[in-house]
Point group: D2
Chain length 370, copies 4
């Protein structure tokens, strides 16, 4: 329907994007509906066997994403037609579908499931990139190089300290992102957010069944969690942009202090060795801040259901996950294969007796704190 | 590969998105390569029959988007593997593929082609939305209603003047967007932007063959055109957000002065009549400013080819076209079907003798200026 | 020199802005220099009495902000000319000024001091706004009103639950912001970030003397802390935008369910009662997301000192603190004086027997969690 | 009250900021009120001698910006208290102050006046930067240097062509910005935008008296002009970021192909020659995109007066003018003093017979098109 593959790999976010497909969305929405009927059954609001019939119907269902998408236009979200489909498929158990729920309950909880899943490869890539940086820091703990400030050569440092700084940033970003993702709770409030026709206990059971955090209270229009998640993704992208930028600069022909293990080729100049993983990591990271701003600006959900801000979140969050994932994946490739050229560093230093201060001790501090 | 349909229709951008698929990208890239070989042939740089063989090879080719995408990772763009495929397919004419060109020549010119095509339904929707607004302005030229400032009732105006303001904004946005799109030129400079191995004349012929503006000089890293296009798209989105916001507010249960012709239903409250076209138009429009910021921030292309900023443009521009297209399409639906309730307007006015000042004359001015 | 007062109070950020004046900057920069000389003295790098002479010279100094600003252009930051001034003022102790430091050490640590100070009134206003919301939640725990979704009347809720949602958002934002601010550490690394000519111990003493967190290692170009702070400020602004938007909507003439205690007047319509505190809180909050994006995009500091990204942080962070402060201050005014009209809520409900579900229990949950 | 000078010069925007002070705002607001009374007098709505008394009262008035700012909080804008002051000062002519106007008429028209004035030095700096770039292009039309793509040496070009590209971008940005600024019209619509109590003819006279474009119809909540202005400023900032980034990269110690005429010093390393004008130009430019996004997102003014979006424009537009002005001013300094090192360019080329293609012809095209 739209662009779905050609540009994505360039940003390296395949593993994240694969968890955010239409099929993944539909699966997550169905999983929430099934769990909700079961949670309601656990509390006696619907019959247990109806809940199981719904589960079976969902498992059997083969929802046509394109048709569902078209049907979604009418009500402004895909839950409305999906509930219709599921009710039909569940036959006599149809009345036990969507008990006490509103569309946003299903959409938000599905998003929480998707974010958790999509964040797995993203977290793995951030962790691996940090590992690679830490490995470089350890290997080059005492490799002297020229520090550069305002793009001018300044005084000596070590490549170990440079790489330790990369690791420290990636570690901090990962820690924060993990906390944000893991704290995302279930959403269940019903049409007016009062849990009328259901109960807080059902919400807690729903959380338990889905393996996500309980909500305390519904958060239909209290979007600090989404804002904080957006911020953490933006910081993660920025933490990737920093080493990627350094690699591009250190790999310049005139500097030559690092090069990528699998540099990219050129359509017109076969001799070139482009640091293409770093370049595309930078490109991915640059797409994040604007998306974060969109999500922060969309925190002003009106009344008990946002009339636009809510709908703006979906694709934006998907894009932000994918592009941050791309930055992490491409940076991982870049750092895991990075070739370091100590002799070039020494040549650029123009001294045989560099004073690198407490660089080694600072590297040790970063590595010890991991 | 990624989400491609489920969320898109919610923003109403189908017609735009259909022109921005992977297949459309590949077609555009091939069209540029074919035209380039023909332009080179016209100036004697390659044999004319080789150019025709390349054209035939391109027409026959059935490029696997997923495979191409994977191959694109290596060099950071899909042109490099596509040229390889086309050379193979062209057999003995292979050497006449991509004459004097660099990847960015092909990517940028393909983007220009795609923007022109994707902008067609967007422009049509903006125009139709403006027409609908103008029709409402004419029909309700003398329908009094309460003006509201800071969300409080103020003094009387007419619905005609309100709708005329919508039309004026949409007209202005469309005019500017059209100018930006139509001015986008061909890109052709070769590896260093000097047209070494080719000539300015080839570039002009390429523009002529593709039906786009000539370039004057290559603009690989002179991105004012992309920035200005982004700005115009952002203004168009904003021009859609304004009437959409007004419709949401005027359609509130307590106000009741307008309603949508095909209002959306609710998964839990069948009695509700949600102004869902306006709501999703707002959602689409809200996604634009952050994308515009990304494109403006990416104007700092380094040297003769950006090491990240260039790559960040592609998906961002595609998303910006699609979301602005969605805002326009959904607003068109909203305004073309809008039901106006003059009796509710009169009731909220609480006076039978409203002084609407020069409202009618102002409506006439807007309509005359269209 | 530029606009400094006329527009600021409109956004209500006086108390924050007063802590971010030029004089406050100069005072903070001097405080860091003095503490640094003392920390160096504590570790025997400079003489203790020289450090005290420097302290006395700083206390005596009356730096002309305009002249300092002009002198700052040359080197790109105000530390360079300030060190010159302080050295002159310190006479024979001049050589003990700025020991082992680089400009960024002083600027970053001063920013940390300023952020902590400017965040005090901001935190107080967020807390007071949350208190006011919690007070409304308690007072109206059982006041029924109509919930509204997509701006249409839906099913009943209580005003208590609405206000509890406001409190929950403000509480969450405040908690996170406080953690970010309190974690900001000292910055001390010297020209190349290696602490050459000084030591980690001096850095720790500097942190202790200034009452800020220790750094572990210098973070000149590891900006996750700045990004995370920016995100937290953006979330705080968004948490203010939500209730402000609700108040504007609930205060509409046609709804009339709340009104501001000190509503604004109009230059042309003395009868109007504009919810001006909510309006300006919204305006302040809307300025935040773009500034957050700027700070996230500026995380790509090059090498050991950013060649632009670093300089872009200063004014942006100041503006972000001020506008978030304005949102909090104006929302506090709005909520502390909010007049609630239960009879209007009941009239809009159009039923005498509303089913408000578990609203009261949910209010209790929010209040218990504070 | 807030920071007003210390950070401003670092971004080089003095001349712009001086035209955007509180005093300048008050002067502009008074100028609009005076012109409005005169325009009303011209059409017989108030007495001519009353208009002159108002003019005299305005000329005599010495408005205390701080007091006015405090008074502005109440109504959410400074016009309300200013009208009160002017009425008192005008004595018996007081009733002829603000005839038929609403606060937004005065604020918007004053902003138009301020933008025009603040844009003068900005336009001059953009023009001078473009001139300097064109001068470099002419002087180095045939100076060979290495083109760099993805930060790797590619094939030869000329410094003339590089500089010509800078000129082309600056020229395009200036042309567009000038058109946007010059098209900004007067704003006059009265409380409901209907010109009740006044007339379109008065609006046209007001435009004539102030020397700005006529409005056609009031545009209180039709903000395409503000959005388009924001876009043009963002493009101008981006057009400055490009050459500033190139200069920072070309001035790197390891490249050494250009250096700034008045490079900045360092607080710790007197030997360094930092390209500080380019660095601060980049910093200024980086602040623009987020501000543009804020203004585009604020195009959704509700009904006949925005309840937040309007108020968010003021400080954002002032900041955007100042930071774009800073980018232009600092880039002008950078380019006017730029020292070019052809011998270093030749050394990095590593060939005595570079093929620079049609570089010279392309330079000539750019220069001819200016």
């Amino acid at each position: 329907m739209t662009n779905s593959g050609l540009l994505t790999p360039l940003y390296g976010a395949d593993a994240v994007s694969e968890r955010l497909t239409d099929a993944a969305w539909i699966e997550a929405l169905l999983a929430v509906e099934v769990a909700l009927s079961r949670a309601a059954a656990r509390h006696g609001l619907v019959a247990g066997e109806d809940a199981e019939r719904i589960s079976a119907a969902a498992a059997r269902s083969d929802v046509d994403a394109v048709a569902l998408a078209k049907a979604a236009v009418e009500g402004g979200n895909p839950v409305i037609p999906l509930v219709r489909l599921l009710r039909e498929a569940a036959g006599p158990a149809g009345a036990a579908v969507h008990p006490g729920a509103t569309s946003q309950d299903i959409m938000d909880t599905a998003i929480v499931l998707l974010v958790r899943r999509a964040a797995e490869p993203l977290r793995a890539d951030l962790r691996a990139a940090a590992e690679a940086a830490a490995g470089l820091a350890l290997a080059h703990r005492d490799t002297p190089m020229m520090a550069r400030t305002l793009a001018q050569q300044a005084l000596p440092t070590t490549f170990g300290l440079v790489a330790a700084g990369w690791a420290a940033g990636l570690d901090a970003a990962l820690r924060d992102l993990a906390a944000r993702v893991d704290a995302l709770p279930v959403q269940f409030g019903g049409a007016a957010g009062t849990l009328a026709g259901s109960s807080p206990a059902v919400a807690d059971t729903l959380a338990e069944l889905l393996g996500v955090a309980p909500q305390g209270v519904p958060w239909h229009t209290e979007r600090t969690r989404i804002g904080a998640l957006a911020g953490a993704l933006g910081v993660a992208a920025g933490a990737c942009a920093k080493p990627a930028t350094d690699v591009v600069l250190l790999a310049q022909t005139e500097v030559g202090e690092v090069s990528e293990g699998a540099p990219g080729d050129s359509s017109s100049m076969p001799h070139k060795r482009n640091p293409i993983a770093a370049v595309t990591a930078r490109a991915s990271a640059r797409r994040a801040p604007g998306l974060v701003a969109t999500l922060l600006a969309a925190m002003d959900h009106e009344h008990q259901r946002g009339a636009g801000p809510w709908h703006a979140e979906w694709a934006t969050l998907v894009d932000l996950l994918a592009t941050t994932g791309g930055a992490a994946a491409r940076l991982r490739t870049c750092l895991e294969g990075l070739e370091v050229h100590p002799e070039a560093m020494r040549r650029n230093l123009r001294t045989d007796t560099p004073d690198v201060g407490h660089a080694a001790e600072l590297v040790d501090r970063v590595l010890a704190a991991r």
